[in-house]
Amino acid sequence: MRARTKLCTLALWCAAAASAAGDSLYFKDGRYYEVPKLVQREKDFEVVYPHGSVIVPKELVQDFFCAEGSGSVEPRTPEEAEKLAQGLVPYEGKWITKARRDQLVEKRQQERRAQLDESRKHQEWRDRYQEETKHFAFEFTVPLDVGHQYMDMFEVYYETFAKEWKVQQPKGKKLKVCFYNKREDFERIGAMGPGVAGYFRFVDPIELNFFYERQDERFTLDVLFHELNHYLFFLHTKNNWQLEPWIEEGMAEYYGASQWDPATKQMSLGHQQEGRLVILMDQMDGGDMQDLEGLLRDSNFQDGIKYAWAWSLCHMLMQDDKTRSKFRGYVDKLAKGTAEREANPRNPNFMWVKRDFAIDLFKKTFGIKDIEDYEQQWYTYIGSKKVESARGYHSAAMFCKRWDRPLRAGVYFKKAIDLYTTNPSTYLNYGELLADDEKDPKPKEAIEVLQKGIPLDPMNPRMYRQLGEAYRKLGDADSKETGKKYQLLAIDMDPYDNTLTWGLDSDVLAELVGGGG
């Protein structure tokens, strides 16, 4: 049975219990914040900082701890006034002595503190959760709820793949899966550099590692489906054989785009990898076409562009009923067949089918008489695809932003927002773009965008820093003052993050220096 932590509420009046600890918030996505002061309201929480407040919608919060309350009661009726005069105070529908109330509140707070500490404890890798399913041995620091959802996904994915590709896990050899609560832990504990989203280690100790990207859960799913696919094809190949990079990565990307329905616990395949599609659209627009034979021959898949081309080829082959089973047969032959093999030059401990044979087999399998002609069909297939989702537009916008195309990026950000993206980074980046446009700054629009995005990530100081920037750019004295308050609020939220103080105007810095922070 899965443990579920319920959101508890305290009585409206809390005694001012002497507690060494401050207030804290524990989000459903596993984030934990210690805050100076927390006020519980009907639909949200108000986090009070020296320079302003942050409003956190209740639906984001799993649990909270509030050490102090108002402690005072204003009588509303003569009966209440009489009770108060007798030294009684209201508490959960009863009138009890103040001392008794303080005692009960203190006890409740200690319990809640312990509960929060227990939840928080499991975010440390040494105290990670360890649970097993039929095929996997999980170690994770995400909240238990989240961990269990992903465990379901893994099993369904395994069954779905196993059915189509006829794979079987060796008995007693469950795959170890390490699932980290945040990117920083994955990078640090896994000794991974930035830019690695997840990995499947195919030599002993065999394991899969990835992290929970809470701002963009779709990304987490993508990585899960991608990396697990490498394991599944690892099971599919015999001995120390490997598939060519275009199949390994192309199919990992194909499955990576799978969708998951938590209600029905089903996954669906064949969706678009819109981030990759954006890259391909740019490549094709620039005339940088990948030749088909070159892709089939390539042993060195180092960059996202190759992944994109490989994905598109696999997508074309898997989505067409006429080619799907042929492609499966082709892959089966490479994975298990008796063709002559050579050492993988990138990893000579592993073998793969000789290139020339693999290419000839490919042509034979799909009846290709003219490879350039087939290539054109492939390009036409890609050209028929369009970016459709909020996430796809966000990827397109970020691509354009990276390439210093702020106007085009803005168009795509707006489309993502119009499609109700829930990725706060869309709003943050768009707000930044609007405010920082040197030729035509739009601070008013930036403010609107950022204010829409803040409820999605209310504890992100960068949102307020950027909001402050936008207000400052409005230019009038009142807006400048409002902007300053937001910038100071951002620093209240994380005073030791250098990047929040870079580039601040001198009057804002002066206020901090003067002890305003």
Binding site: D285, P495, L512
Partner: protein, 574 residues
């Protein structure tokens, strides 16, 4: 021996028997600058500014670093070198941070330095835990215990390294809350030996003493950045650039000489300032070698560009272990006087004695002459050239270039692997056809296990062309200079075109344009920029340079070259 002496000797002998034998103890370390004392475990000694301490990060927060001379054996047969480091995380308020940003925003100092040196990284770290979590890779905190050290609250951490390491490790750290911040002592260790060594770590932790009850002192500068220089040399005339180079050289030399530690001397040669702690005889050897490399580069590659090669400073230490290895953040500015830190290697044979020196001199020369060209040299040539020059040894007044031991071994191995190679792609062969070496992308050339072989082959091919049979052959005699010359012309041409395009796009104004028009213009500008992307231009340049240089070559010529080089190479690996 007199009877008195004998009596004294006997007394001494008796005394030794009666007194308890003193326990072996490590030495004590005092840092007066920061203000602390600790005792060190046996076999540990201070190693100032040591870098590469197996994962320990050394930056502004690191105070002292130590190494242990006794290596630990491991189950996989490798040995593990233990290290220790101390850190100080000063207490700073948000107001301090804001004040520092305020200072920094005033711009660089008159000497061109950053005003505040501790605003590094994206955060200000106040505790060891924060710092390690961000800066040290490969571990998780596997234990945390509260303790008391020297009367202060402390936390003892165990840090477990499992993934990304061949030897499982467990480090121990003690973070002590001193009055004005947190002081930490960190030991690295293997998992295997951790239990045996824990008591020695704790002994060091417990030995910690503040020299001043008020706390520790802040580090003096901790500056890790060089000068901040923002002059755009493209806007200067040739005479102005020359004058600027001269001034940069004079200032850098003076600063070096004025700042030399006690016991150091210096002298100037035509292109170098030699500052040395080693005996003057060796310093002169170093200077002679340096000048010989410079002259050789001038003779062979002087015409590759019209830039001014800046002088260099060579610091020659007494021994290799003395060379400080601080991670410097060097802002590269045109004409800056680079420094080489050098010492006679502890062992030579596998690689040549002056390898490190020659690499830096070659790079400095080529960048100075023509930095655009240097950037765009194909990898086989830039790598091969560097490896070739690295081998140079001065015999009399002449540089003699013989392959280093590693190169011979690598080529030997490559040739053995080549006999077993059955693949169809020559780019993946251990020994590649020379044409493939010249035309294949660096990514493909250097992938996987092949990198070592390719490196050795590049060095050997360049040697063959510059001084081997290739240098005497009509077809290949001046191949390298010819190729570089063609590339140089092409680079000039392309740079001129890029400059023209850049000016044309900058001149355009979007004032009064509609949103749609601005968008269209932005898309167009991006397309143009994409066409001019460095990788595309580089690819085109290399293709064109190849076509120009080898336009008269046919398959027979390439086969002859391969056969001739192979014979040459084989003769030099035995």
């Amino acid at each position: 021996m007199t009877s008195k002496t004998l009596r004294l000797a006997l007394c001494a002998a008796l005394s030794c028997c009666l007194l308890p034998v003193p326990a072996l103890a490590g030495s004590s370390h005092v840092n007066e600058e920061i203000g602390y004392r600790i005792s060190l475990p046996d076999d540990f000694e201070l190693k100032p500014d040591a870098s590469g301490l197996a994962g320990m990060v050394l930056d502004y927060y690191a105070v002292d670093t130590f190494t242990c001379s006794k290596l630990l054996p491991s189950k996989i047969g490798w040995t593990f070198e233990r290290h220790m480091a101390t850190y100080f995380f000063p207490e700073r308020s948000a107001a301090d941070l804001a004040k520092a940003q305020e200072e920094n925003q005033k711009g660089a100092t008159e000497e061109g330095k950053r005003r505040v040196t501790w605003l590094i990284n994206g955060r200000v770290y106040r505790t060891f835990q924060e710092y390690a979590s961000d800066q040290i890779s490969g571990f998780f905190f596997d234990g945390e215990k509260k303790a008391q050290v020297a009367g202060f609250d402390a936390t003892i951490y165990e840090m477990k390294f499992e993934k990304g390491t061949e030897i499982p490790q467990r480090w121990m750290a003690c973070a002590i809350k001193v009055p004005n911040g947190e002081f930490a002592i960190l030991f690295s260790c293997t998992e295997q030996h951790f239990a045996d060594l824990t008591s020695e770590f704790k002994k060091t932790f417990n030995s910690f003493k503040l020299l001043d009850k008020a706390g520790l002192k802040l580090k003096d500068t901790g500056s890790t950045s060089e000068e901040v220089d923002s002059v755009d040399e493209d806007k200067l005339s040739v005479e102005e650039v020359l004058a600027r180079r001269k001034k940069q050289k004079e200032e850098a030399f003076k600063k070096c000489i004025d700042g030399l530690p006690a016991g150091w001397r210096s002298f100037e040669t035509k292109h170098f300032l030699i500052a040395h702690a080693c005996p003057v005889k060796y310093a002169k050897e170093v200077s002679q070698h340096a000048e010989a490399v410079y002259d050789w580069m001038e003779e062979h590659f002087g015409s590759v560009g019209s830039g001014q090669v800046q002088s260099m400073i060579i610091r020659v230490y007494e021994k290799e272990a003395d060379i400080p290895r601080v991670a410097r953040v060097i802002l590269v500015v045109p004409g800056m006087v680079r420094e080489i830190e050098f010492a006679k290697p502890d062992s030579v044979g596998w690689i040549s004695e002056f390898r490190g020196l020659s690499t830096d001199i070659t790079c400095n020369f080529l960048e100075g002459k023509n930095d655009q060209l240097w950037d765009r040299l194909p990898r086989w040539l830039s790598w091969g050239l560097q490896e070739y020059v690295n081998n140079g040894v001065l015999k009399g007044s002449k540089l003699v270039f013989n392959p280093e031991q590693w190169e011979e071994d690598a080529l030997n191995d490559a040739m053995m692997e080549q006999r077993k190679f059955e693949g169809s792609n020559p780019a993946l062969a251990p020994i590649k056809p020379v044409k493939t070496l010249i035309t294949t992308t660096p990514e493909e050339l250097w992938q996987g296990q092949l990198g070592r072989f390719t490196q050795a082959q590049c060095a050997s091919v360049v040697r063959y062309l510059i001084e081997g049979p290739g240098s005497k052959n009509k077809k290949t005699g001046s191949l390298v200079t010819h190729y570089i010359g063609n590339l140089y012309d092409l680079v000039q041409q392309v740079d001129a075109e890029l400059e023209k395009d850049k000016k044309a796009s900058a001149g355009g104004s979007s004032a009064g344009a509609s949103e749609e028009e601005r968008l269209k213009a932005e898309d167009e500008e991006y397309r143009k920029r994409r066409e001019q992307a460095y990788e595309k231009v580089a690819e085109r340049l290399l293709e064109d340079a190849f076509q120009l240089t080898f336009k008269d070559w046919d398959d027979g010529d390439w086969r002859s070259l391969d056969n001739s080089w192979a014979k040459y190479a084989e003769g030099r690996t035995k």
